[in-house]
């Protein structure tokens, strides 16, 4: 066995170990939560704790769906999806305009976009609630969609702007000469080439909207507009801590987002512009 082979094996072993440690740290709480959600209520907080449930049960899952979880999940899906689409639509238009067109106030717009990104959402809660009430959109799903889009738009504009800038401008020029208006160029050439950036920005908004608790709990009060994270929180409040349903609901809330990440991962790994321009 050559020294370099041993060396390579050792490096591989080290890398494997490091990854395993990271994975354990990241996944253990989730695994623990999942296993605990399968335990009957009295076993969840038992001491000393036991890792595996002795008699697995789905009672907590049955319970949350009896508590109308499906409706709140549907709310979350609708609000998140709408927020993602709205933010991407506005962000793509704004980002493209800033990247490719010279117009008065362009620099100011760019600087303010960056500045707005640094404002913490907590400090915006009260004013946005007031605004939303004035607009008659407090306690509505539409209100949440608009807020999520507003909060995430600056960072999405920034991300897409940077990506558009990195595209070779000759490809767009070619489209123009070939007969495309700027709008058609955006839709036929720029956006298809920007799939990785759109996916990344979309996931960014999705994670925020799907996980948001603070904004939703501030802006909504009725069950009609309640999203899933708020619904989960209710298991912590009214009837004492209900660990079982709380854990079950948390696990359920993780599933869709993980599924989407896995589904889309190949799209945001690599660029798509290979072979377009020389050199």
């Amino acid at each position: 066995m050559s020294a370099s082979f041993v060396h390579a094996m050792r490096r591989k072993a080290v890398r494997l170990t490091v990854n395993a440690v990271i994975a354990v740290f990241a996944l253990l709480p989730i695994l623990w939560g999942f296993l605990s959600s399968l335990k009957p209520t009295d076993k969840i907080v038992e001491f000393p704790p036991r890792f595996l449930p002795e008699h697995p049960t789905l009672e907590h899952y049955t319970r949350i769906f009896a508590d109308n979880a499906a409706y709140f999940i549907a709310n979350s899906v609708a609000v998140s999806a709408a927020a993602v689409l709205l933010t991407l639509a506005l962000g793509a238009l704004a980002g493209y305009a800033i990247a490719r067109f010279r117009f008065a106030g362009r620099d100011t717009l760019m600087v303010s976009t960056v500045a707005i990104m640094s404002i913490p959402i907590a400090s915006l809660l009260v004013p946005t609630f007031t605004l939303l009430s004035w607009a008659g959109l407090a306690d509505t799903r539409l209100g949440l969609v608009l807020l999520y889009a507003a909060y995430q738009l600056p960072v999405v504009v920034w991300m897409l702007y940077g990506y558009f800038l990195s595209l070779p401008v000759e490809i767009e020029n070619a489209a123009r000469v070939d007969g495309c208006s700027p709008t058609r160029t955006l839709f036929k050439v720029v956006l298809p080439l920007s799939k990785p950036a759109l996916v990344a920005a979309g996931l960014f908004v999705l994670v925020f909207a799907w996980n948001d608790f603070v904004v939703a709990v501030t802006m909504t009060s009725s069950e009609t507009a309640r999203t899933f994270p708020v619904a989960i929180y209710f298991y912590l409040g009214f009837y004492g801590r209900e660990w079982g349903p709380l854990l079950a609901a948390s696990i359920v809330s993780i599933v869709p987002i993980v599924a989407i990440f896995v589904l889309l991962q190949r799209h945001f790994v690599s660029g798509l512009t290979g072979g377009g321009v020389k050199g």
């Binding site: 070779p168 000759e170 058609r184 036929k188 072979g275 321009v277």
Partner: protein, 365 residues
């Protein structure tokens, strides 16, 4: 009516003058090459014509219509970009079909497919139609870019160094094809290149640029034989022109040109035209005959290059100036270090104003 007319068109990038007051007419059906060194404003001229660059001043007309303020998509042009600019997310077939898809009214699918197929065949990229640009070679990409332009019937074709990345043989073939295409379709073509033999073989006229300024527009032979100034004289031709700085003189009653390294005889018409100031004599290597002795100038060979049927001798004169002369190696040879004598054909001597470079006298071709 000219197909294209530039009137006083200029473009600056900050302090860089990319194009200075361009006046240029391209006739209907003409094959005009824009030739010049790197950074001379060729692509800028094409970009302005395509509407991709906004002019700082001046007027651009296409087929008699003022297009200065018209966006590219309304100018009805087809363009091949210097770096191809293929659509990476589309297949070769879709790339070629793209300009047809964007037409209004859009041709029907069968017609588009037929045209794409025909163009791909003529460019020898038929088997590549289903591939993506990243899956084909540089030369193939360039042909796809050509195909995307050829599939249309635009007012003017704009080609920015479309053959630069092809191997020598393919380049010659594509040159022929382009020429045939031009003859057959009678389309107006504005063609950017910095390969002068390409410009010479393809063009009806050549426009020579330097530092954003148009130097001369003329048919290839005229550019070569009657260069408007010293830059053009130097730029065209396989080898740089030989230049000597000096002034007129008479030697034993005969007109001559005196410079630090000696005196060169001139013909009477040259001496008559040229006046009295500082001049620059220009002469091509093929108009200088190296001999053992008997020429007007003497020097020693510092480099002997055999290029096919020609032997090029770089000779250092007494004053340090270097001159390249061409010999027929069957009639005359010399080695590095040998002393030779150079006979400059007086009939083929050009004279330029030493300061402005403007031609004062053209020698015979």
């Amino acid at each position: 009516m000219s197909a294209v007319r530039f009137s006083g068109v200029s473009k600056n990038y900050g302090p860089v003058v990319a194009l200075a007051g361009l006046d240029l007419d391209v006739a209907e059906g003409e094959f005009l090459s824009l030739l010049g060194p790197s950074g001379s404003g060729k692509s800028t001229t094409l970009g302005l014509l395509a509407g991709l660059i906004d002019a700082d001043g001046g007027k651009i007309e296409i087929a008699g219509r003022d297009v200065t303020a018209l966006p590219p998509e309304k100018r009805d042009l087809a363009m091949v970009f210097q770096n191809y600019a293929l659509y990476p997310h589309l297949t070769v077939a879709e790339n070629i079909a793209f300009p047809l898809e964007a037409r209004k009214p859009k041709p029907d699918a069968a017609e588009i497919a037929k045209k794409v197929e025909a163009v791909a065949q003529s460019l020898g990229i038929g088997p590549l139609l289903a591939r993506y640009p990243r899956e084909i070679s540089g030369g193939q990409q360039q042909r796809v870019a050509l195909g995307r332009a050829m599939v249309r019937d635009p007012k003017v074709f704009l080609l920015d160094e479309p053959l630069s990345n092809l191997d020598a043989r393919l380049r010659i073939r594509m040159r022929r094809d382009l020429k045939a295409l031009h003859a057959q379709l009678g389309s107006t073509i504005v063609y950017v290149t910095h390969d002068q033999s390409e410009a010479m073989t393809l063009s009806s006229r050549i426009a020579i640029f330097n530092h954003g300024k148009l130097q001369q527009v003329a048919p290839p032979a005229e550019i070569y034989d009657r260069p408007a100034n010293a830059f053009v004289a130097n730029f065209v031709g396989d080898r740089e022109m030989n230049f000597l700085d000096g002034k007129l003189t008479t030697q034993g009653g005969a007109p001559g040109f005196v410079f630090a390294g000696g005196v060169v005889p001139l013909i009477a018409s040259a001496a008559a035209v040229a006046g009295n100031g500082a001049l620059r004599l220009g002469i091509r290597a093929e108009a200088i005959e190296p001999t053992r002795d008997g020429g007007a100038l003497r020097g020693s060979v510092i480099l002997a290059e055999l290029a096919g049927p020609d032997l090029f001798l770089t000779v250092r004169l007494g004053d340090g100036a270097e001159i390249v002369a061409r010999a027929d190696p069957r009639a005359f040879t010399a080695r590095e270090g040998e002393a030779v004598s150079l006979a400059l054909d007086p009939a083929r001597i050009h004279l330029f104003d030493a300061e402005t470079g403007i031609a004062r006298h053209h020698g015979a071709a």
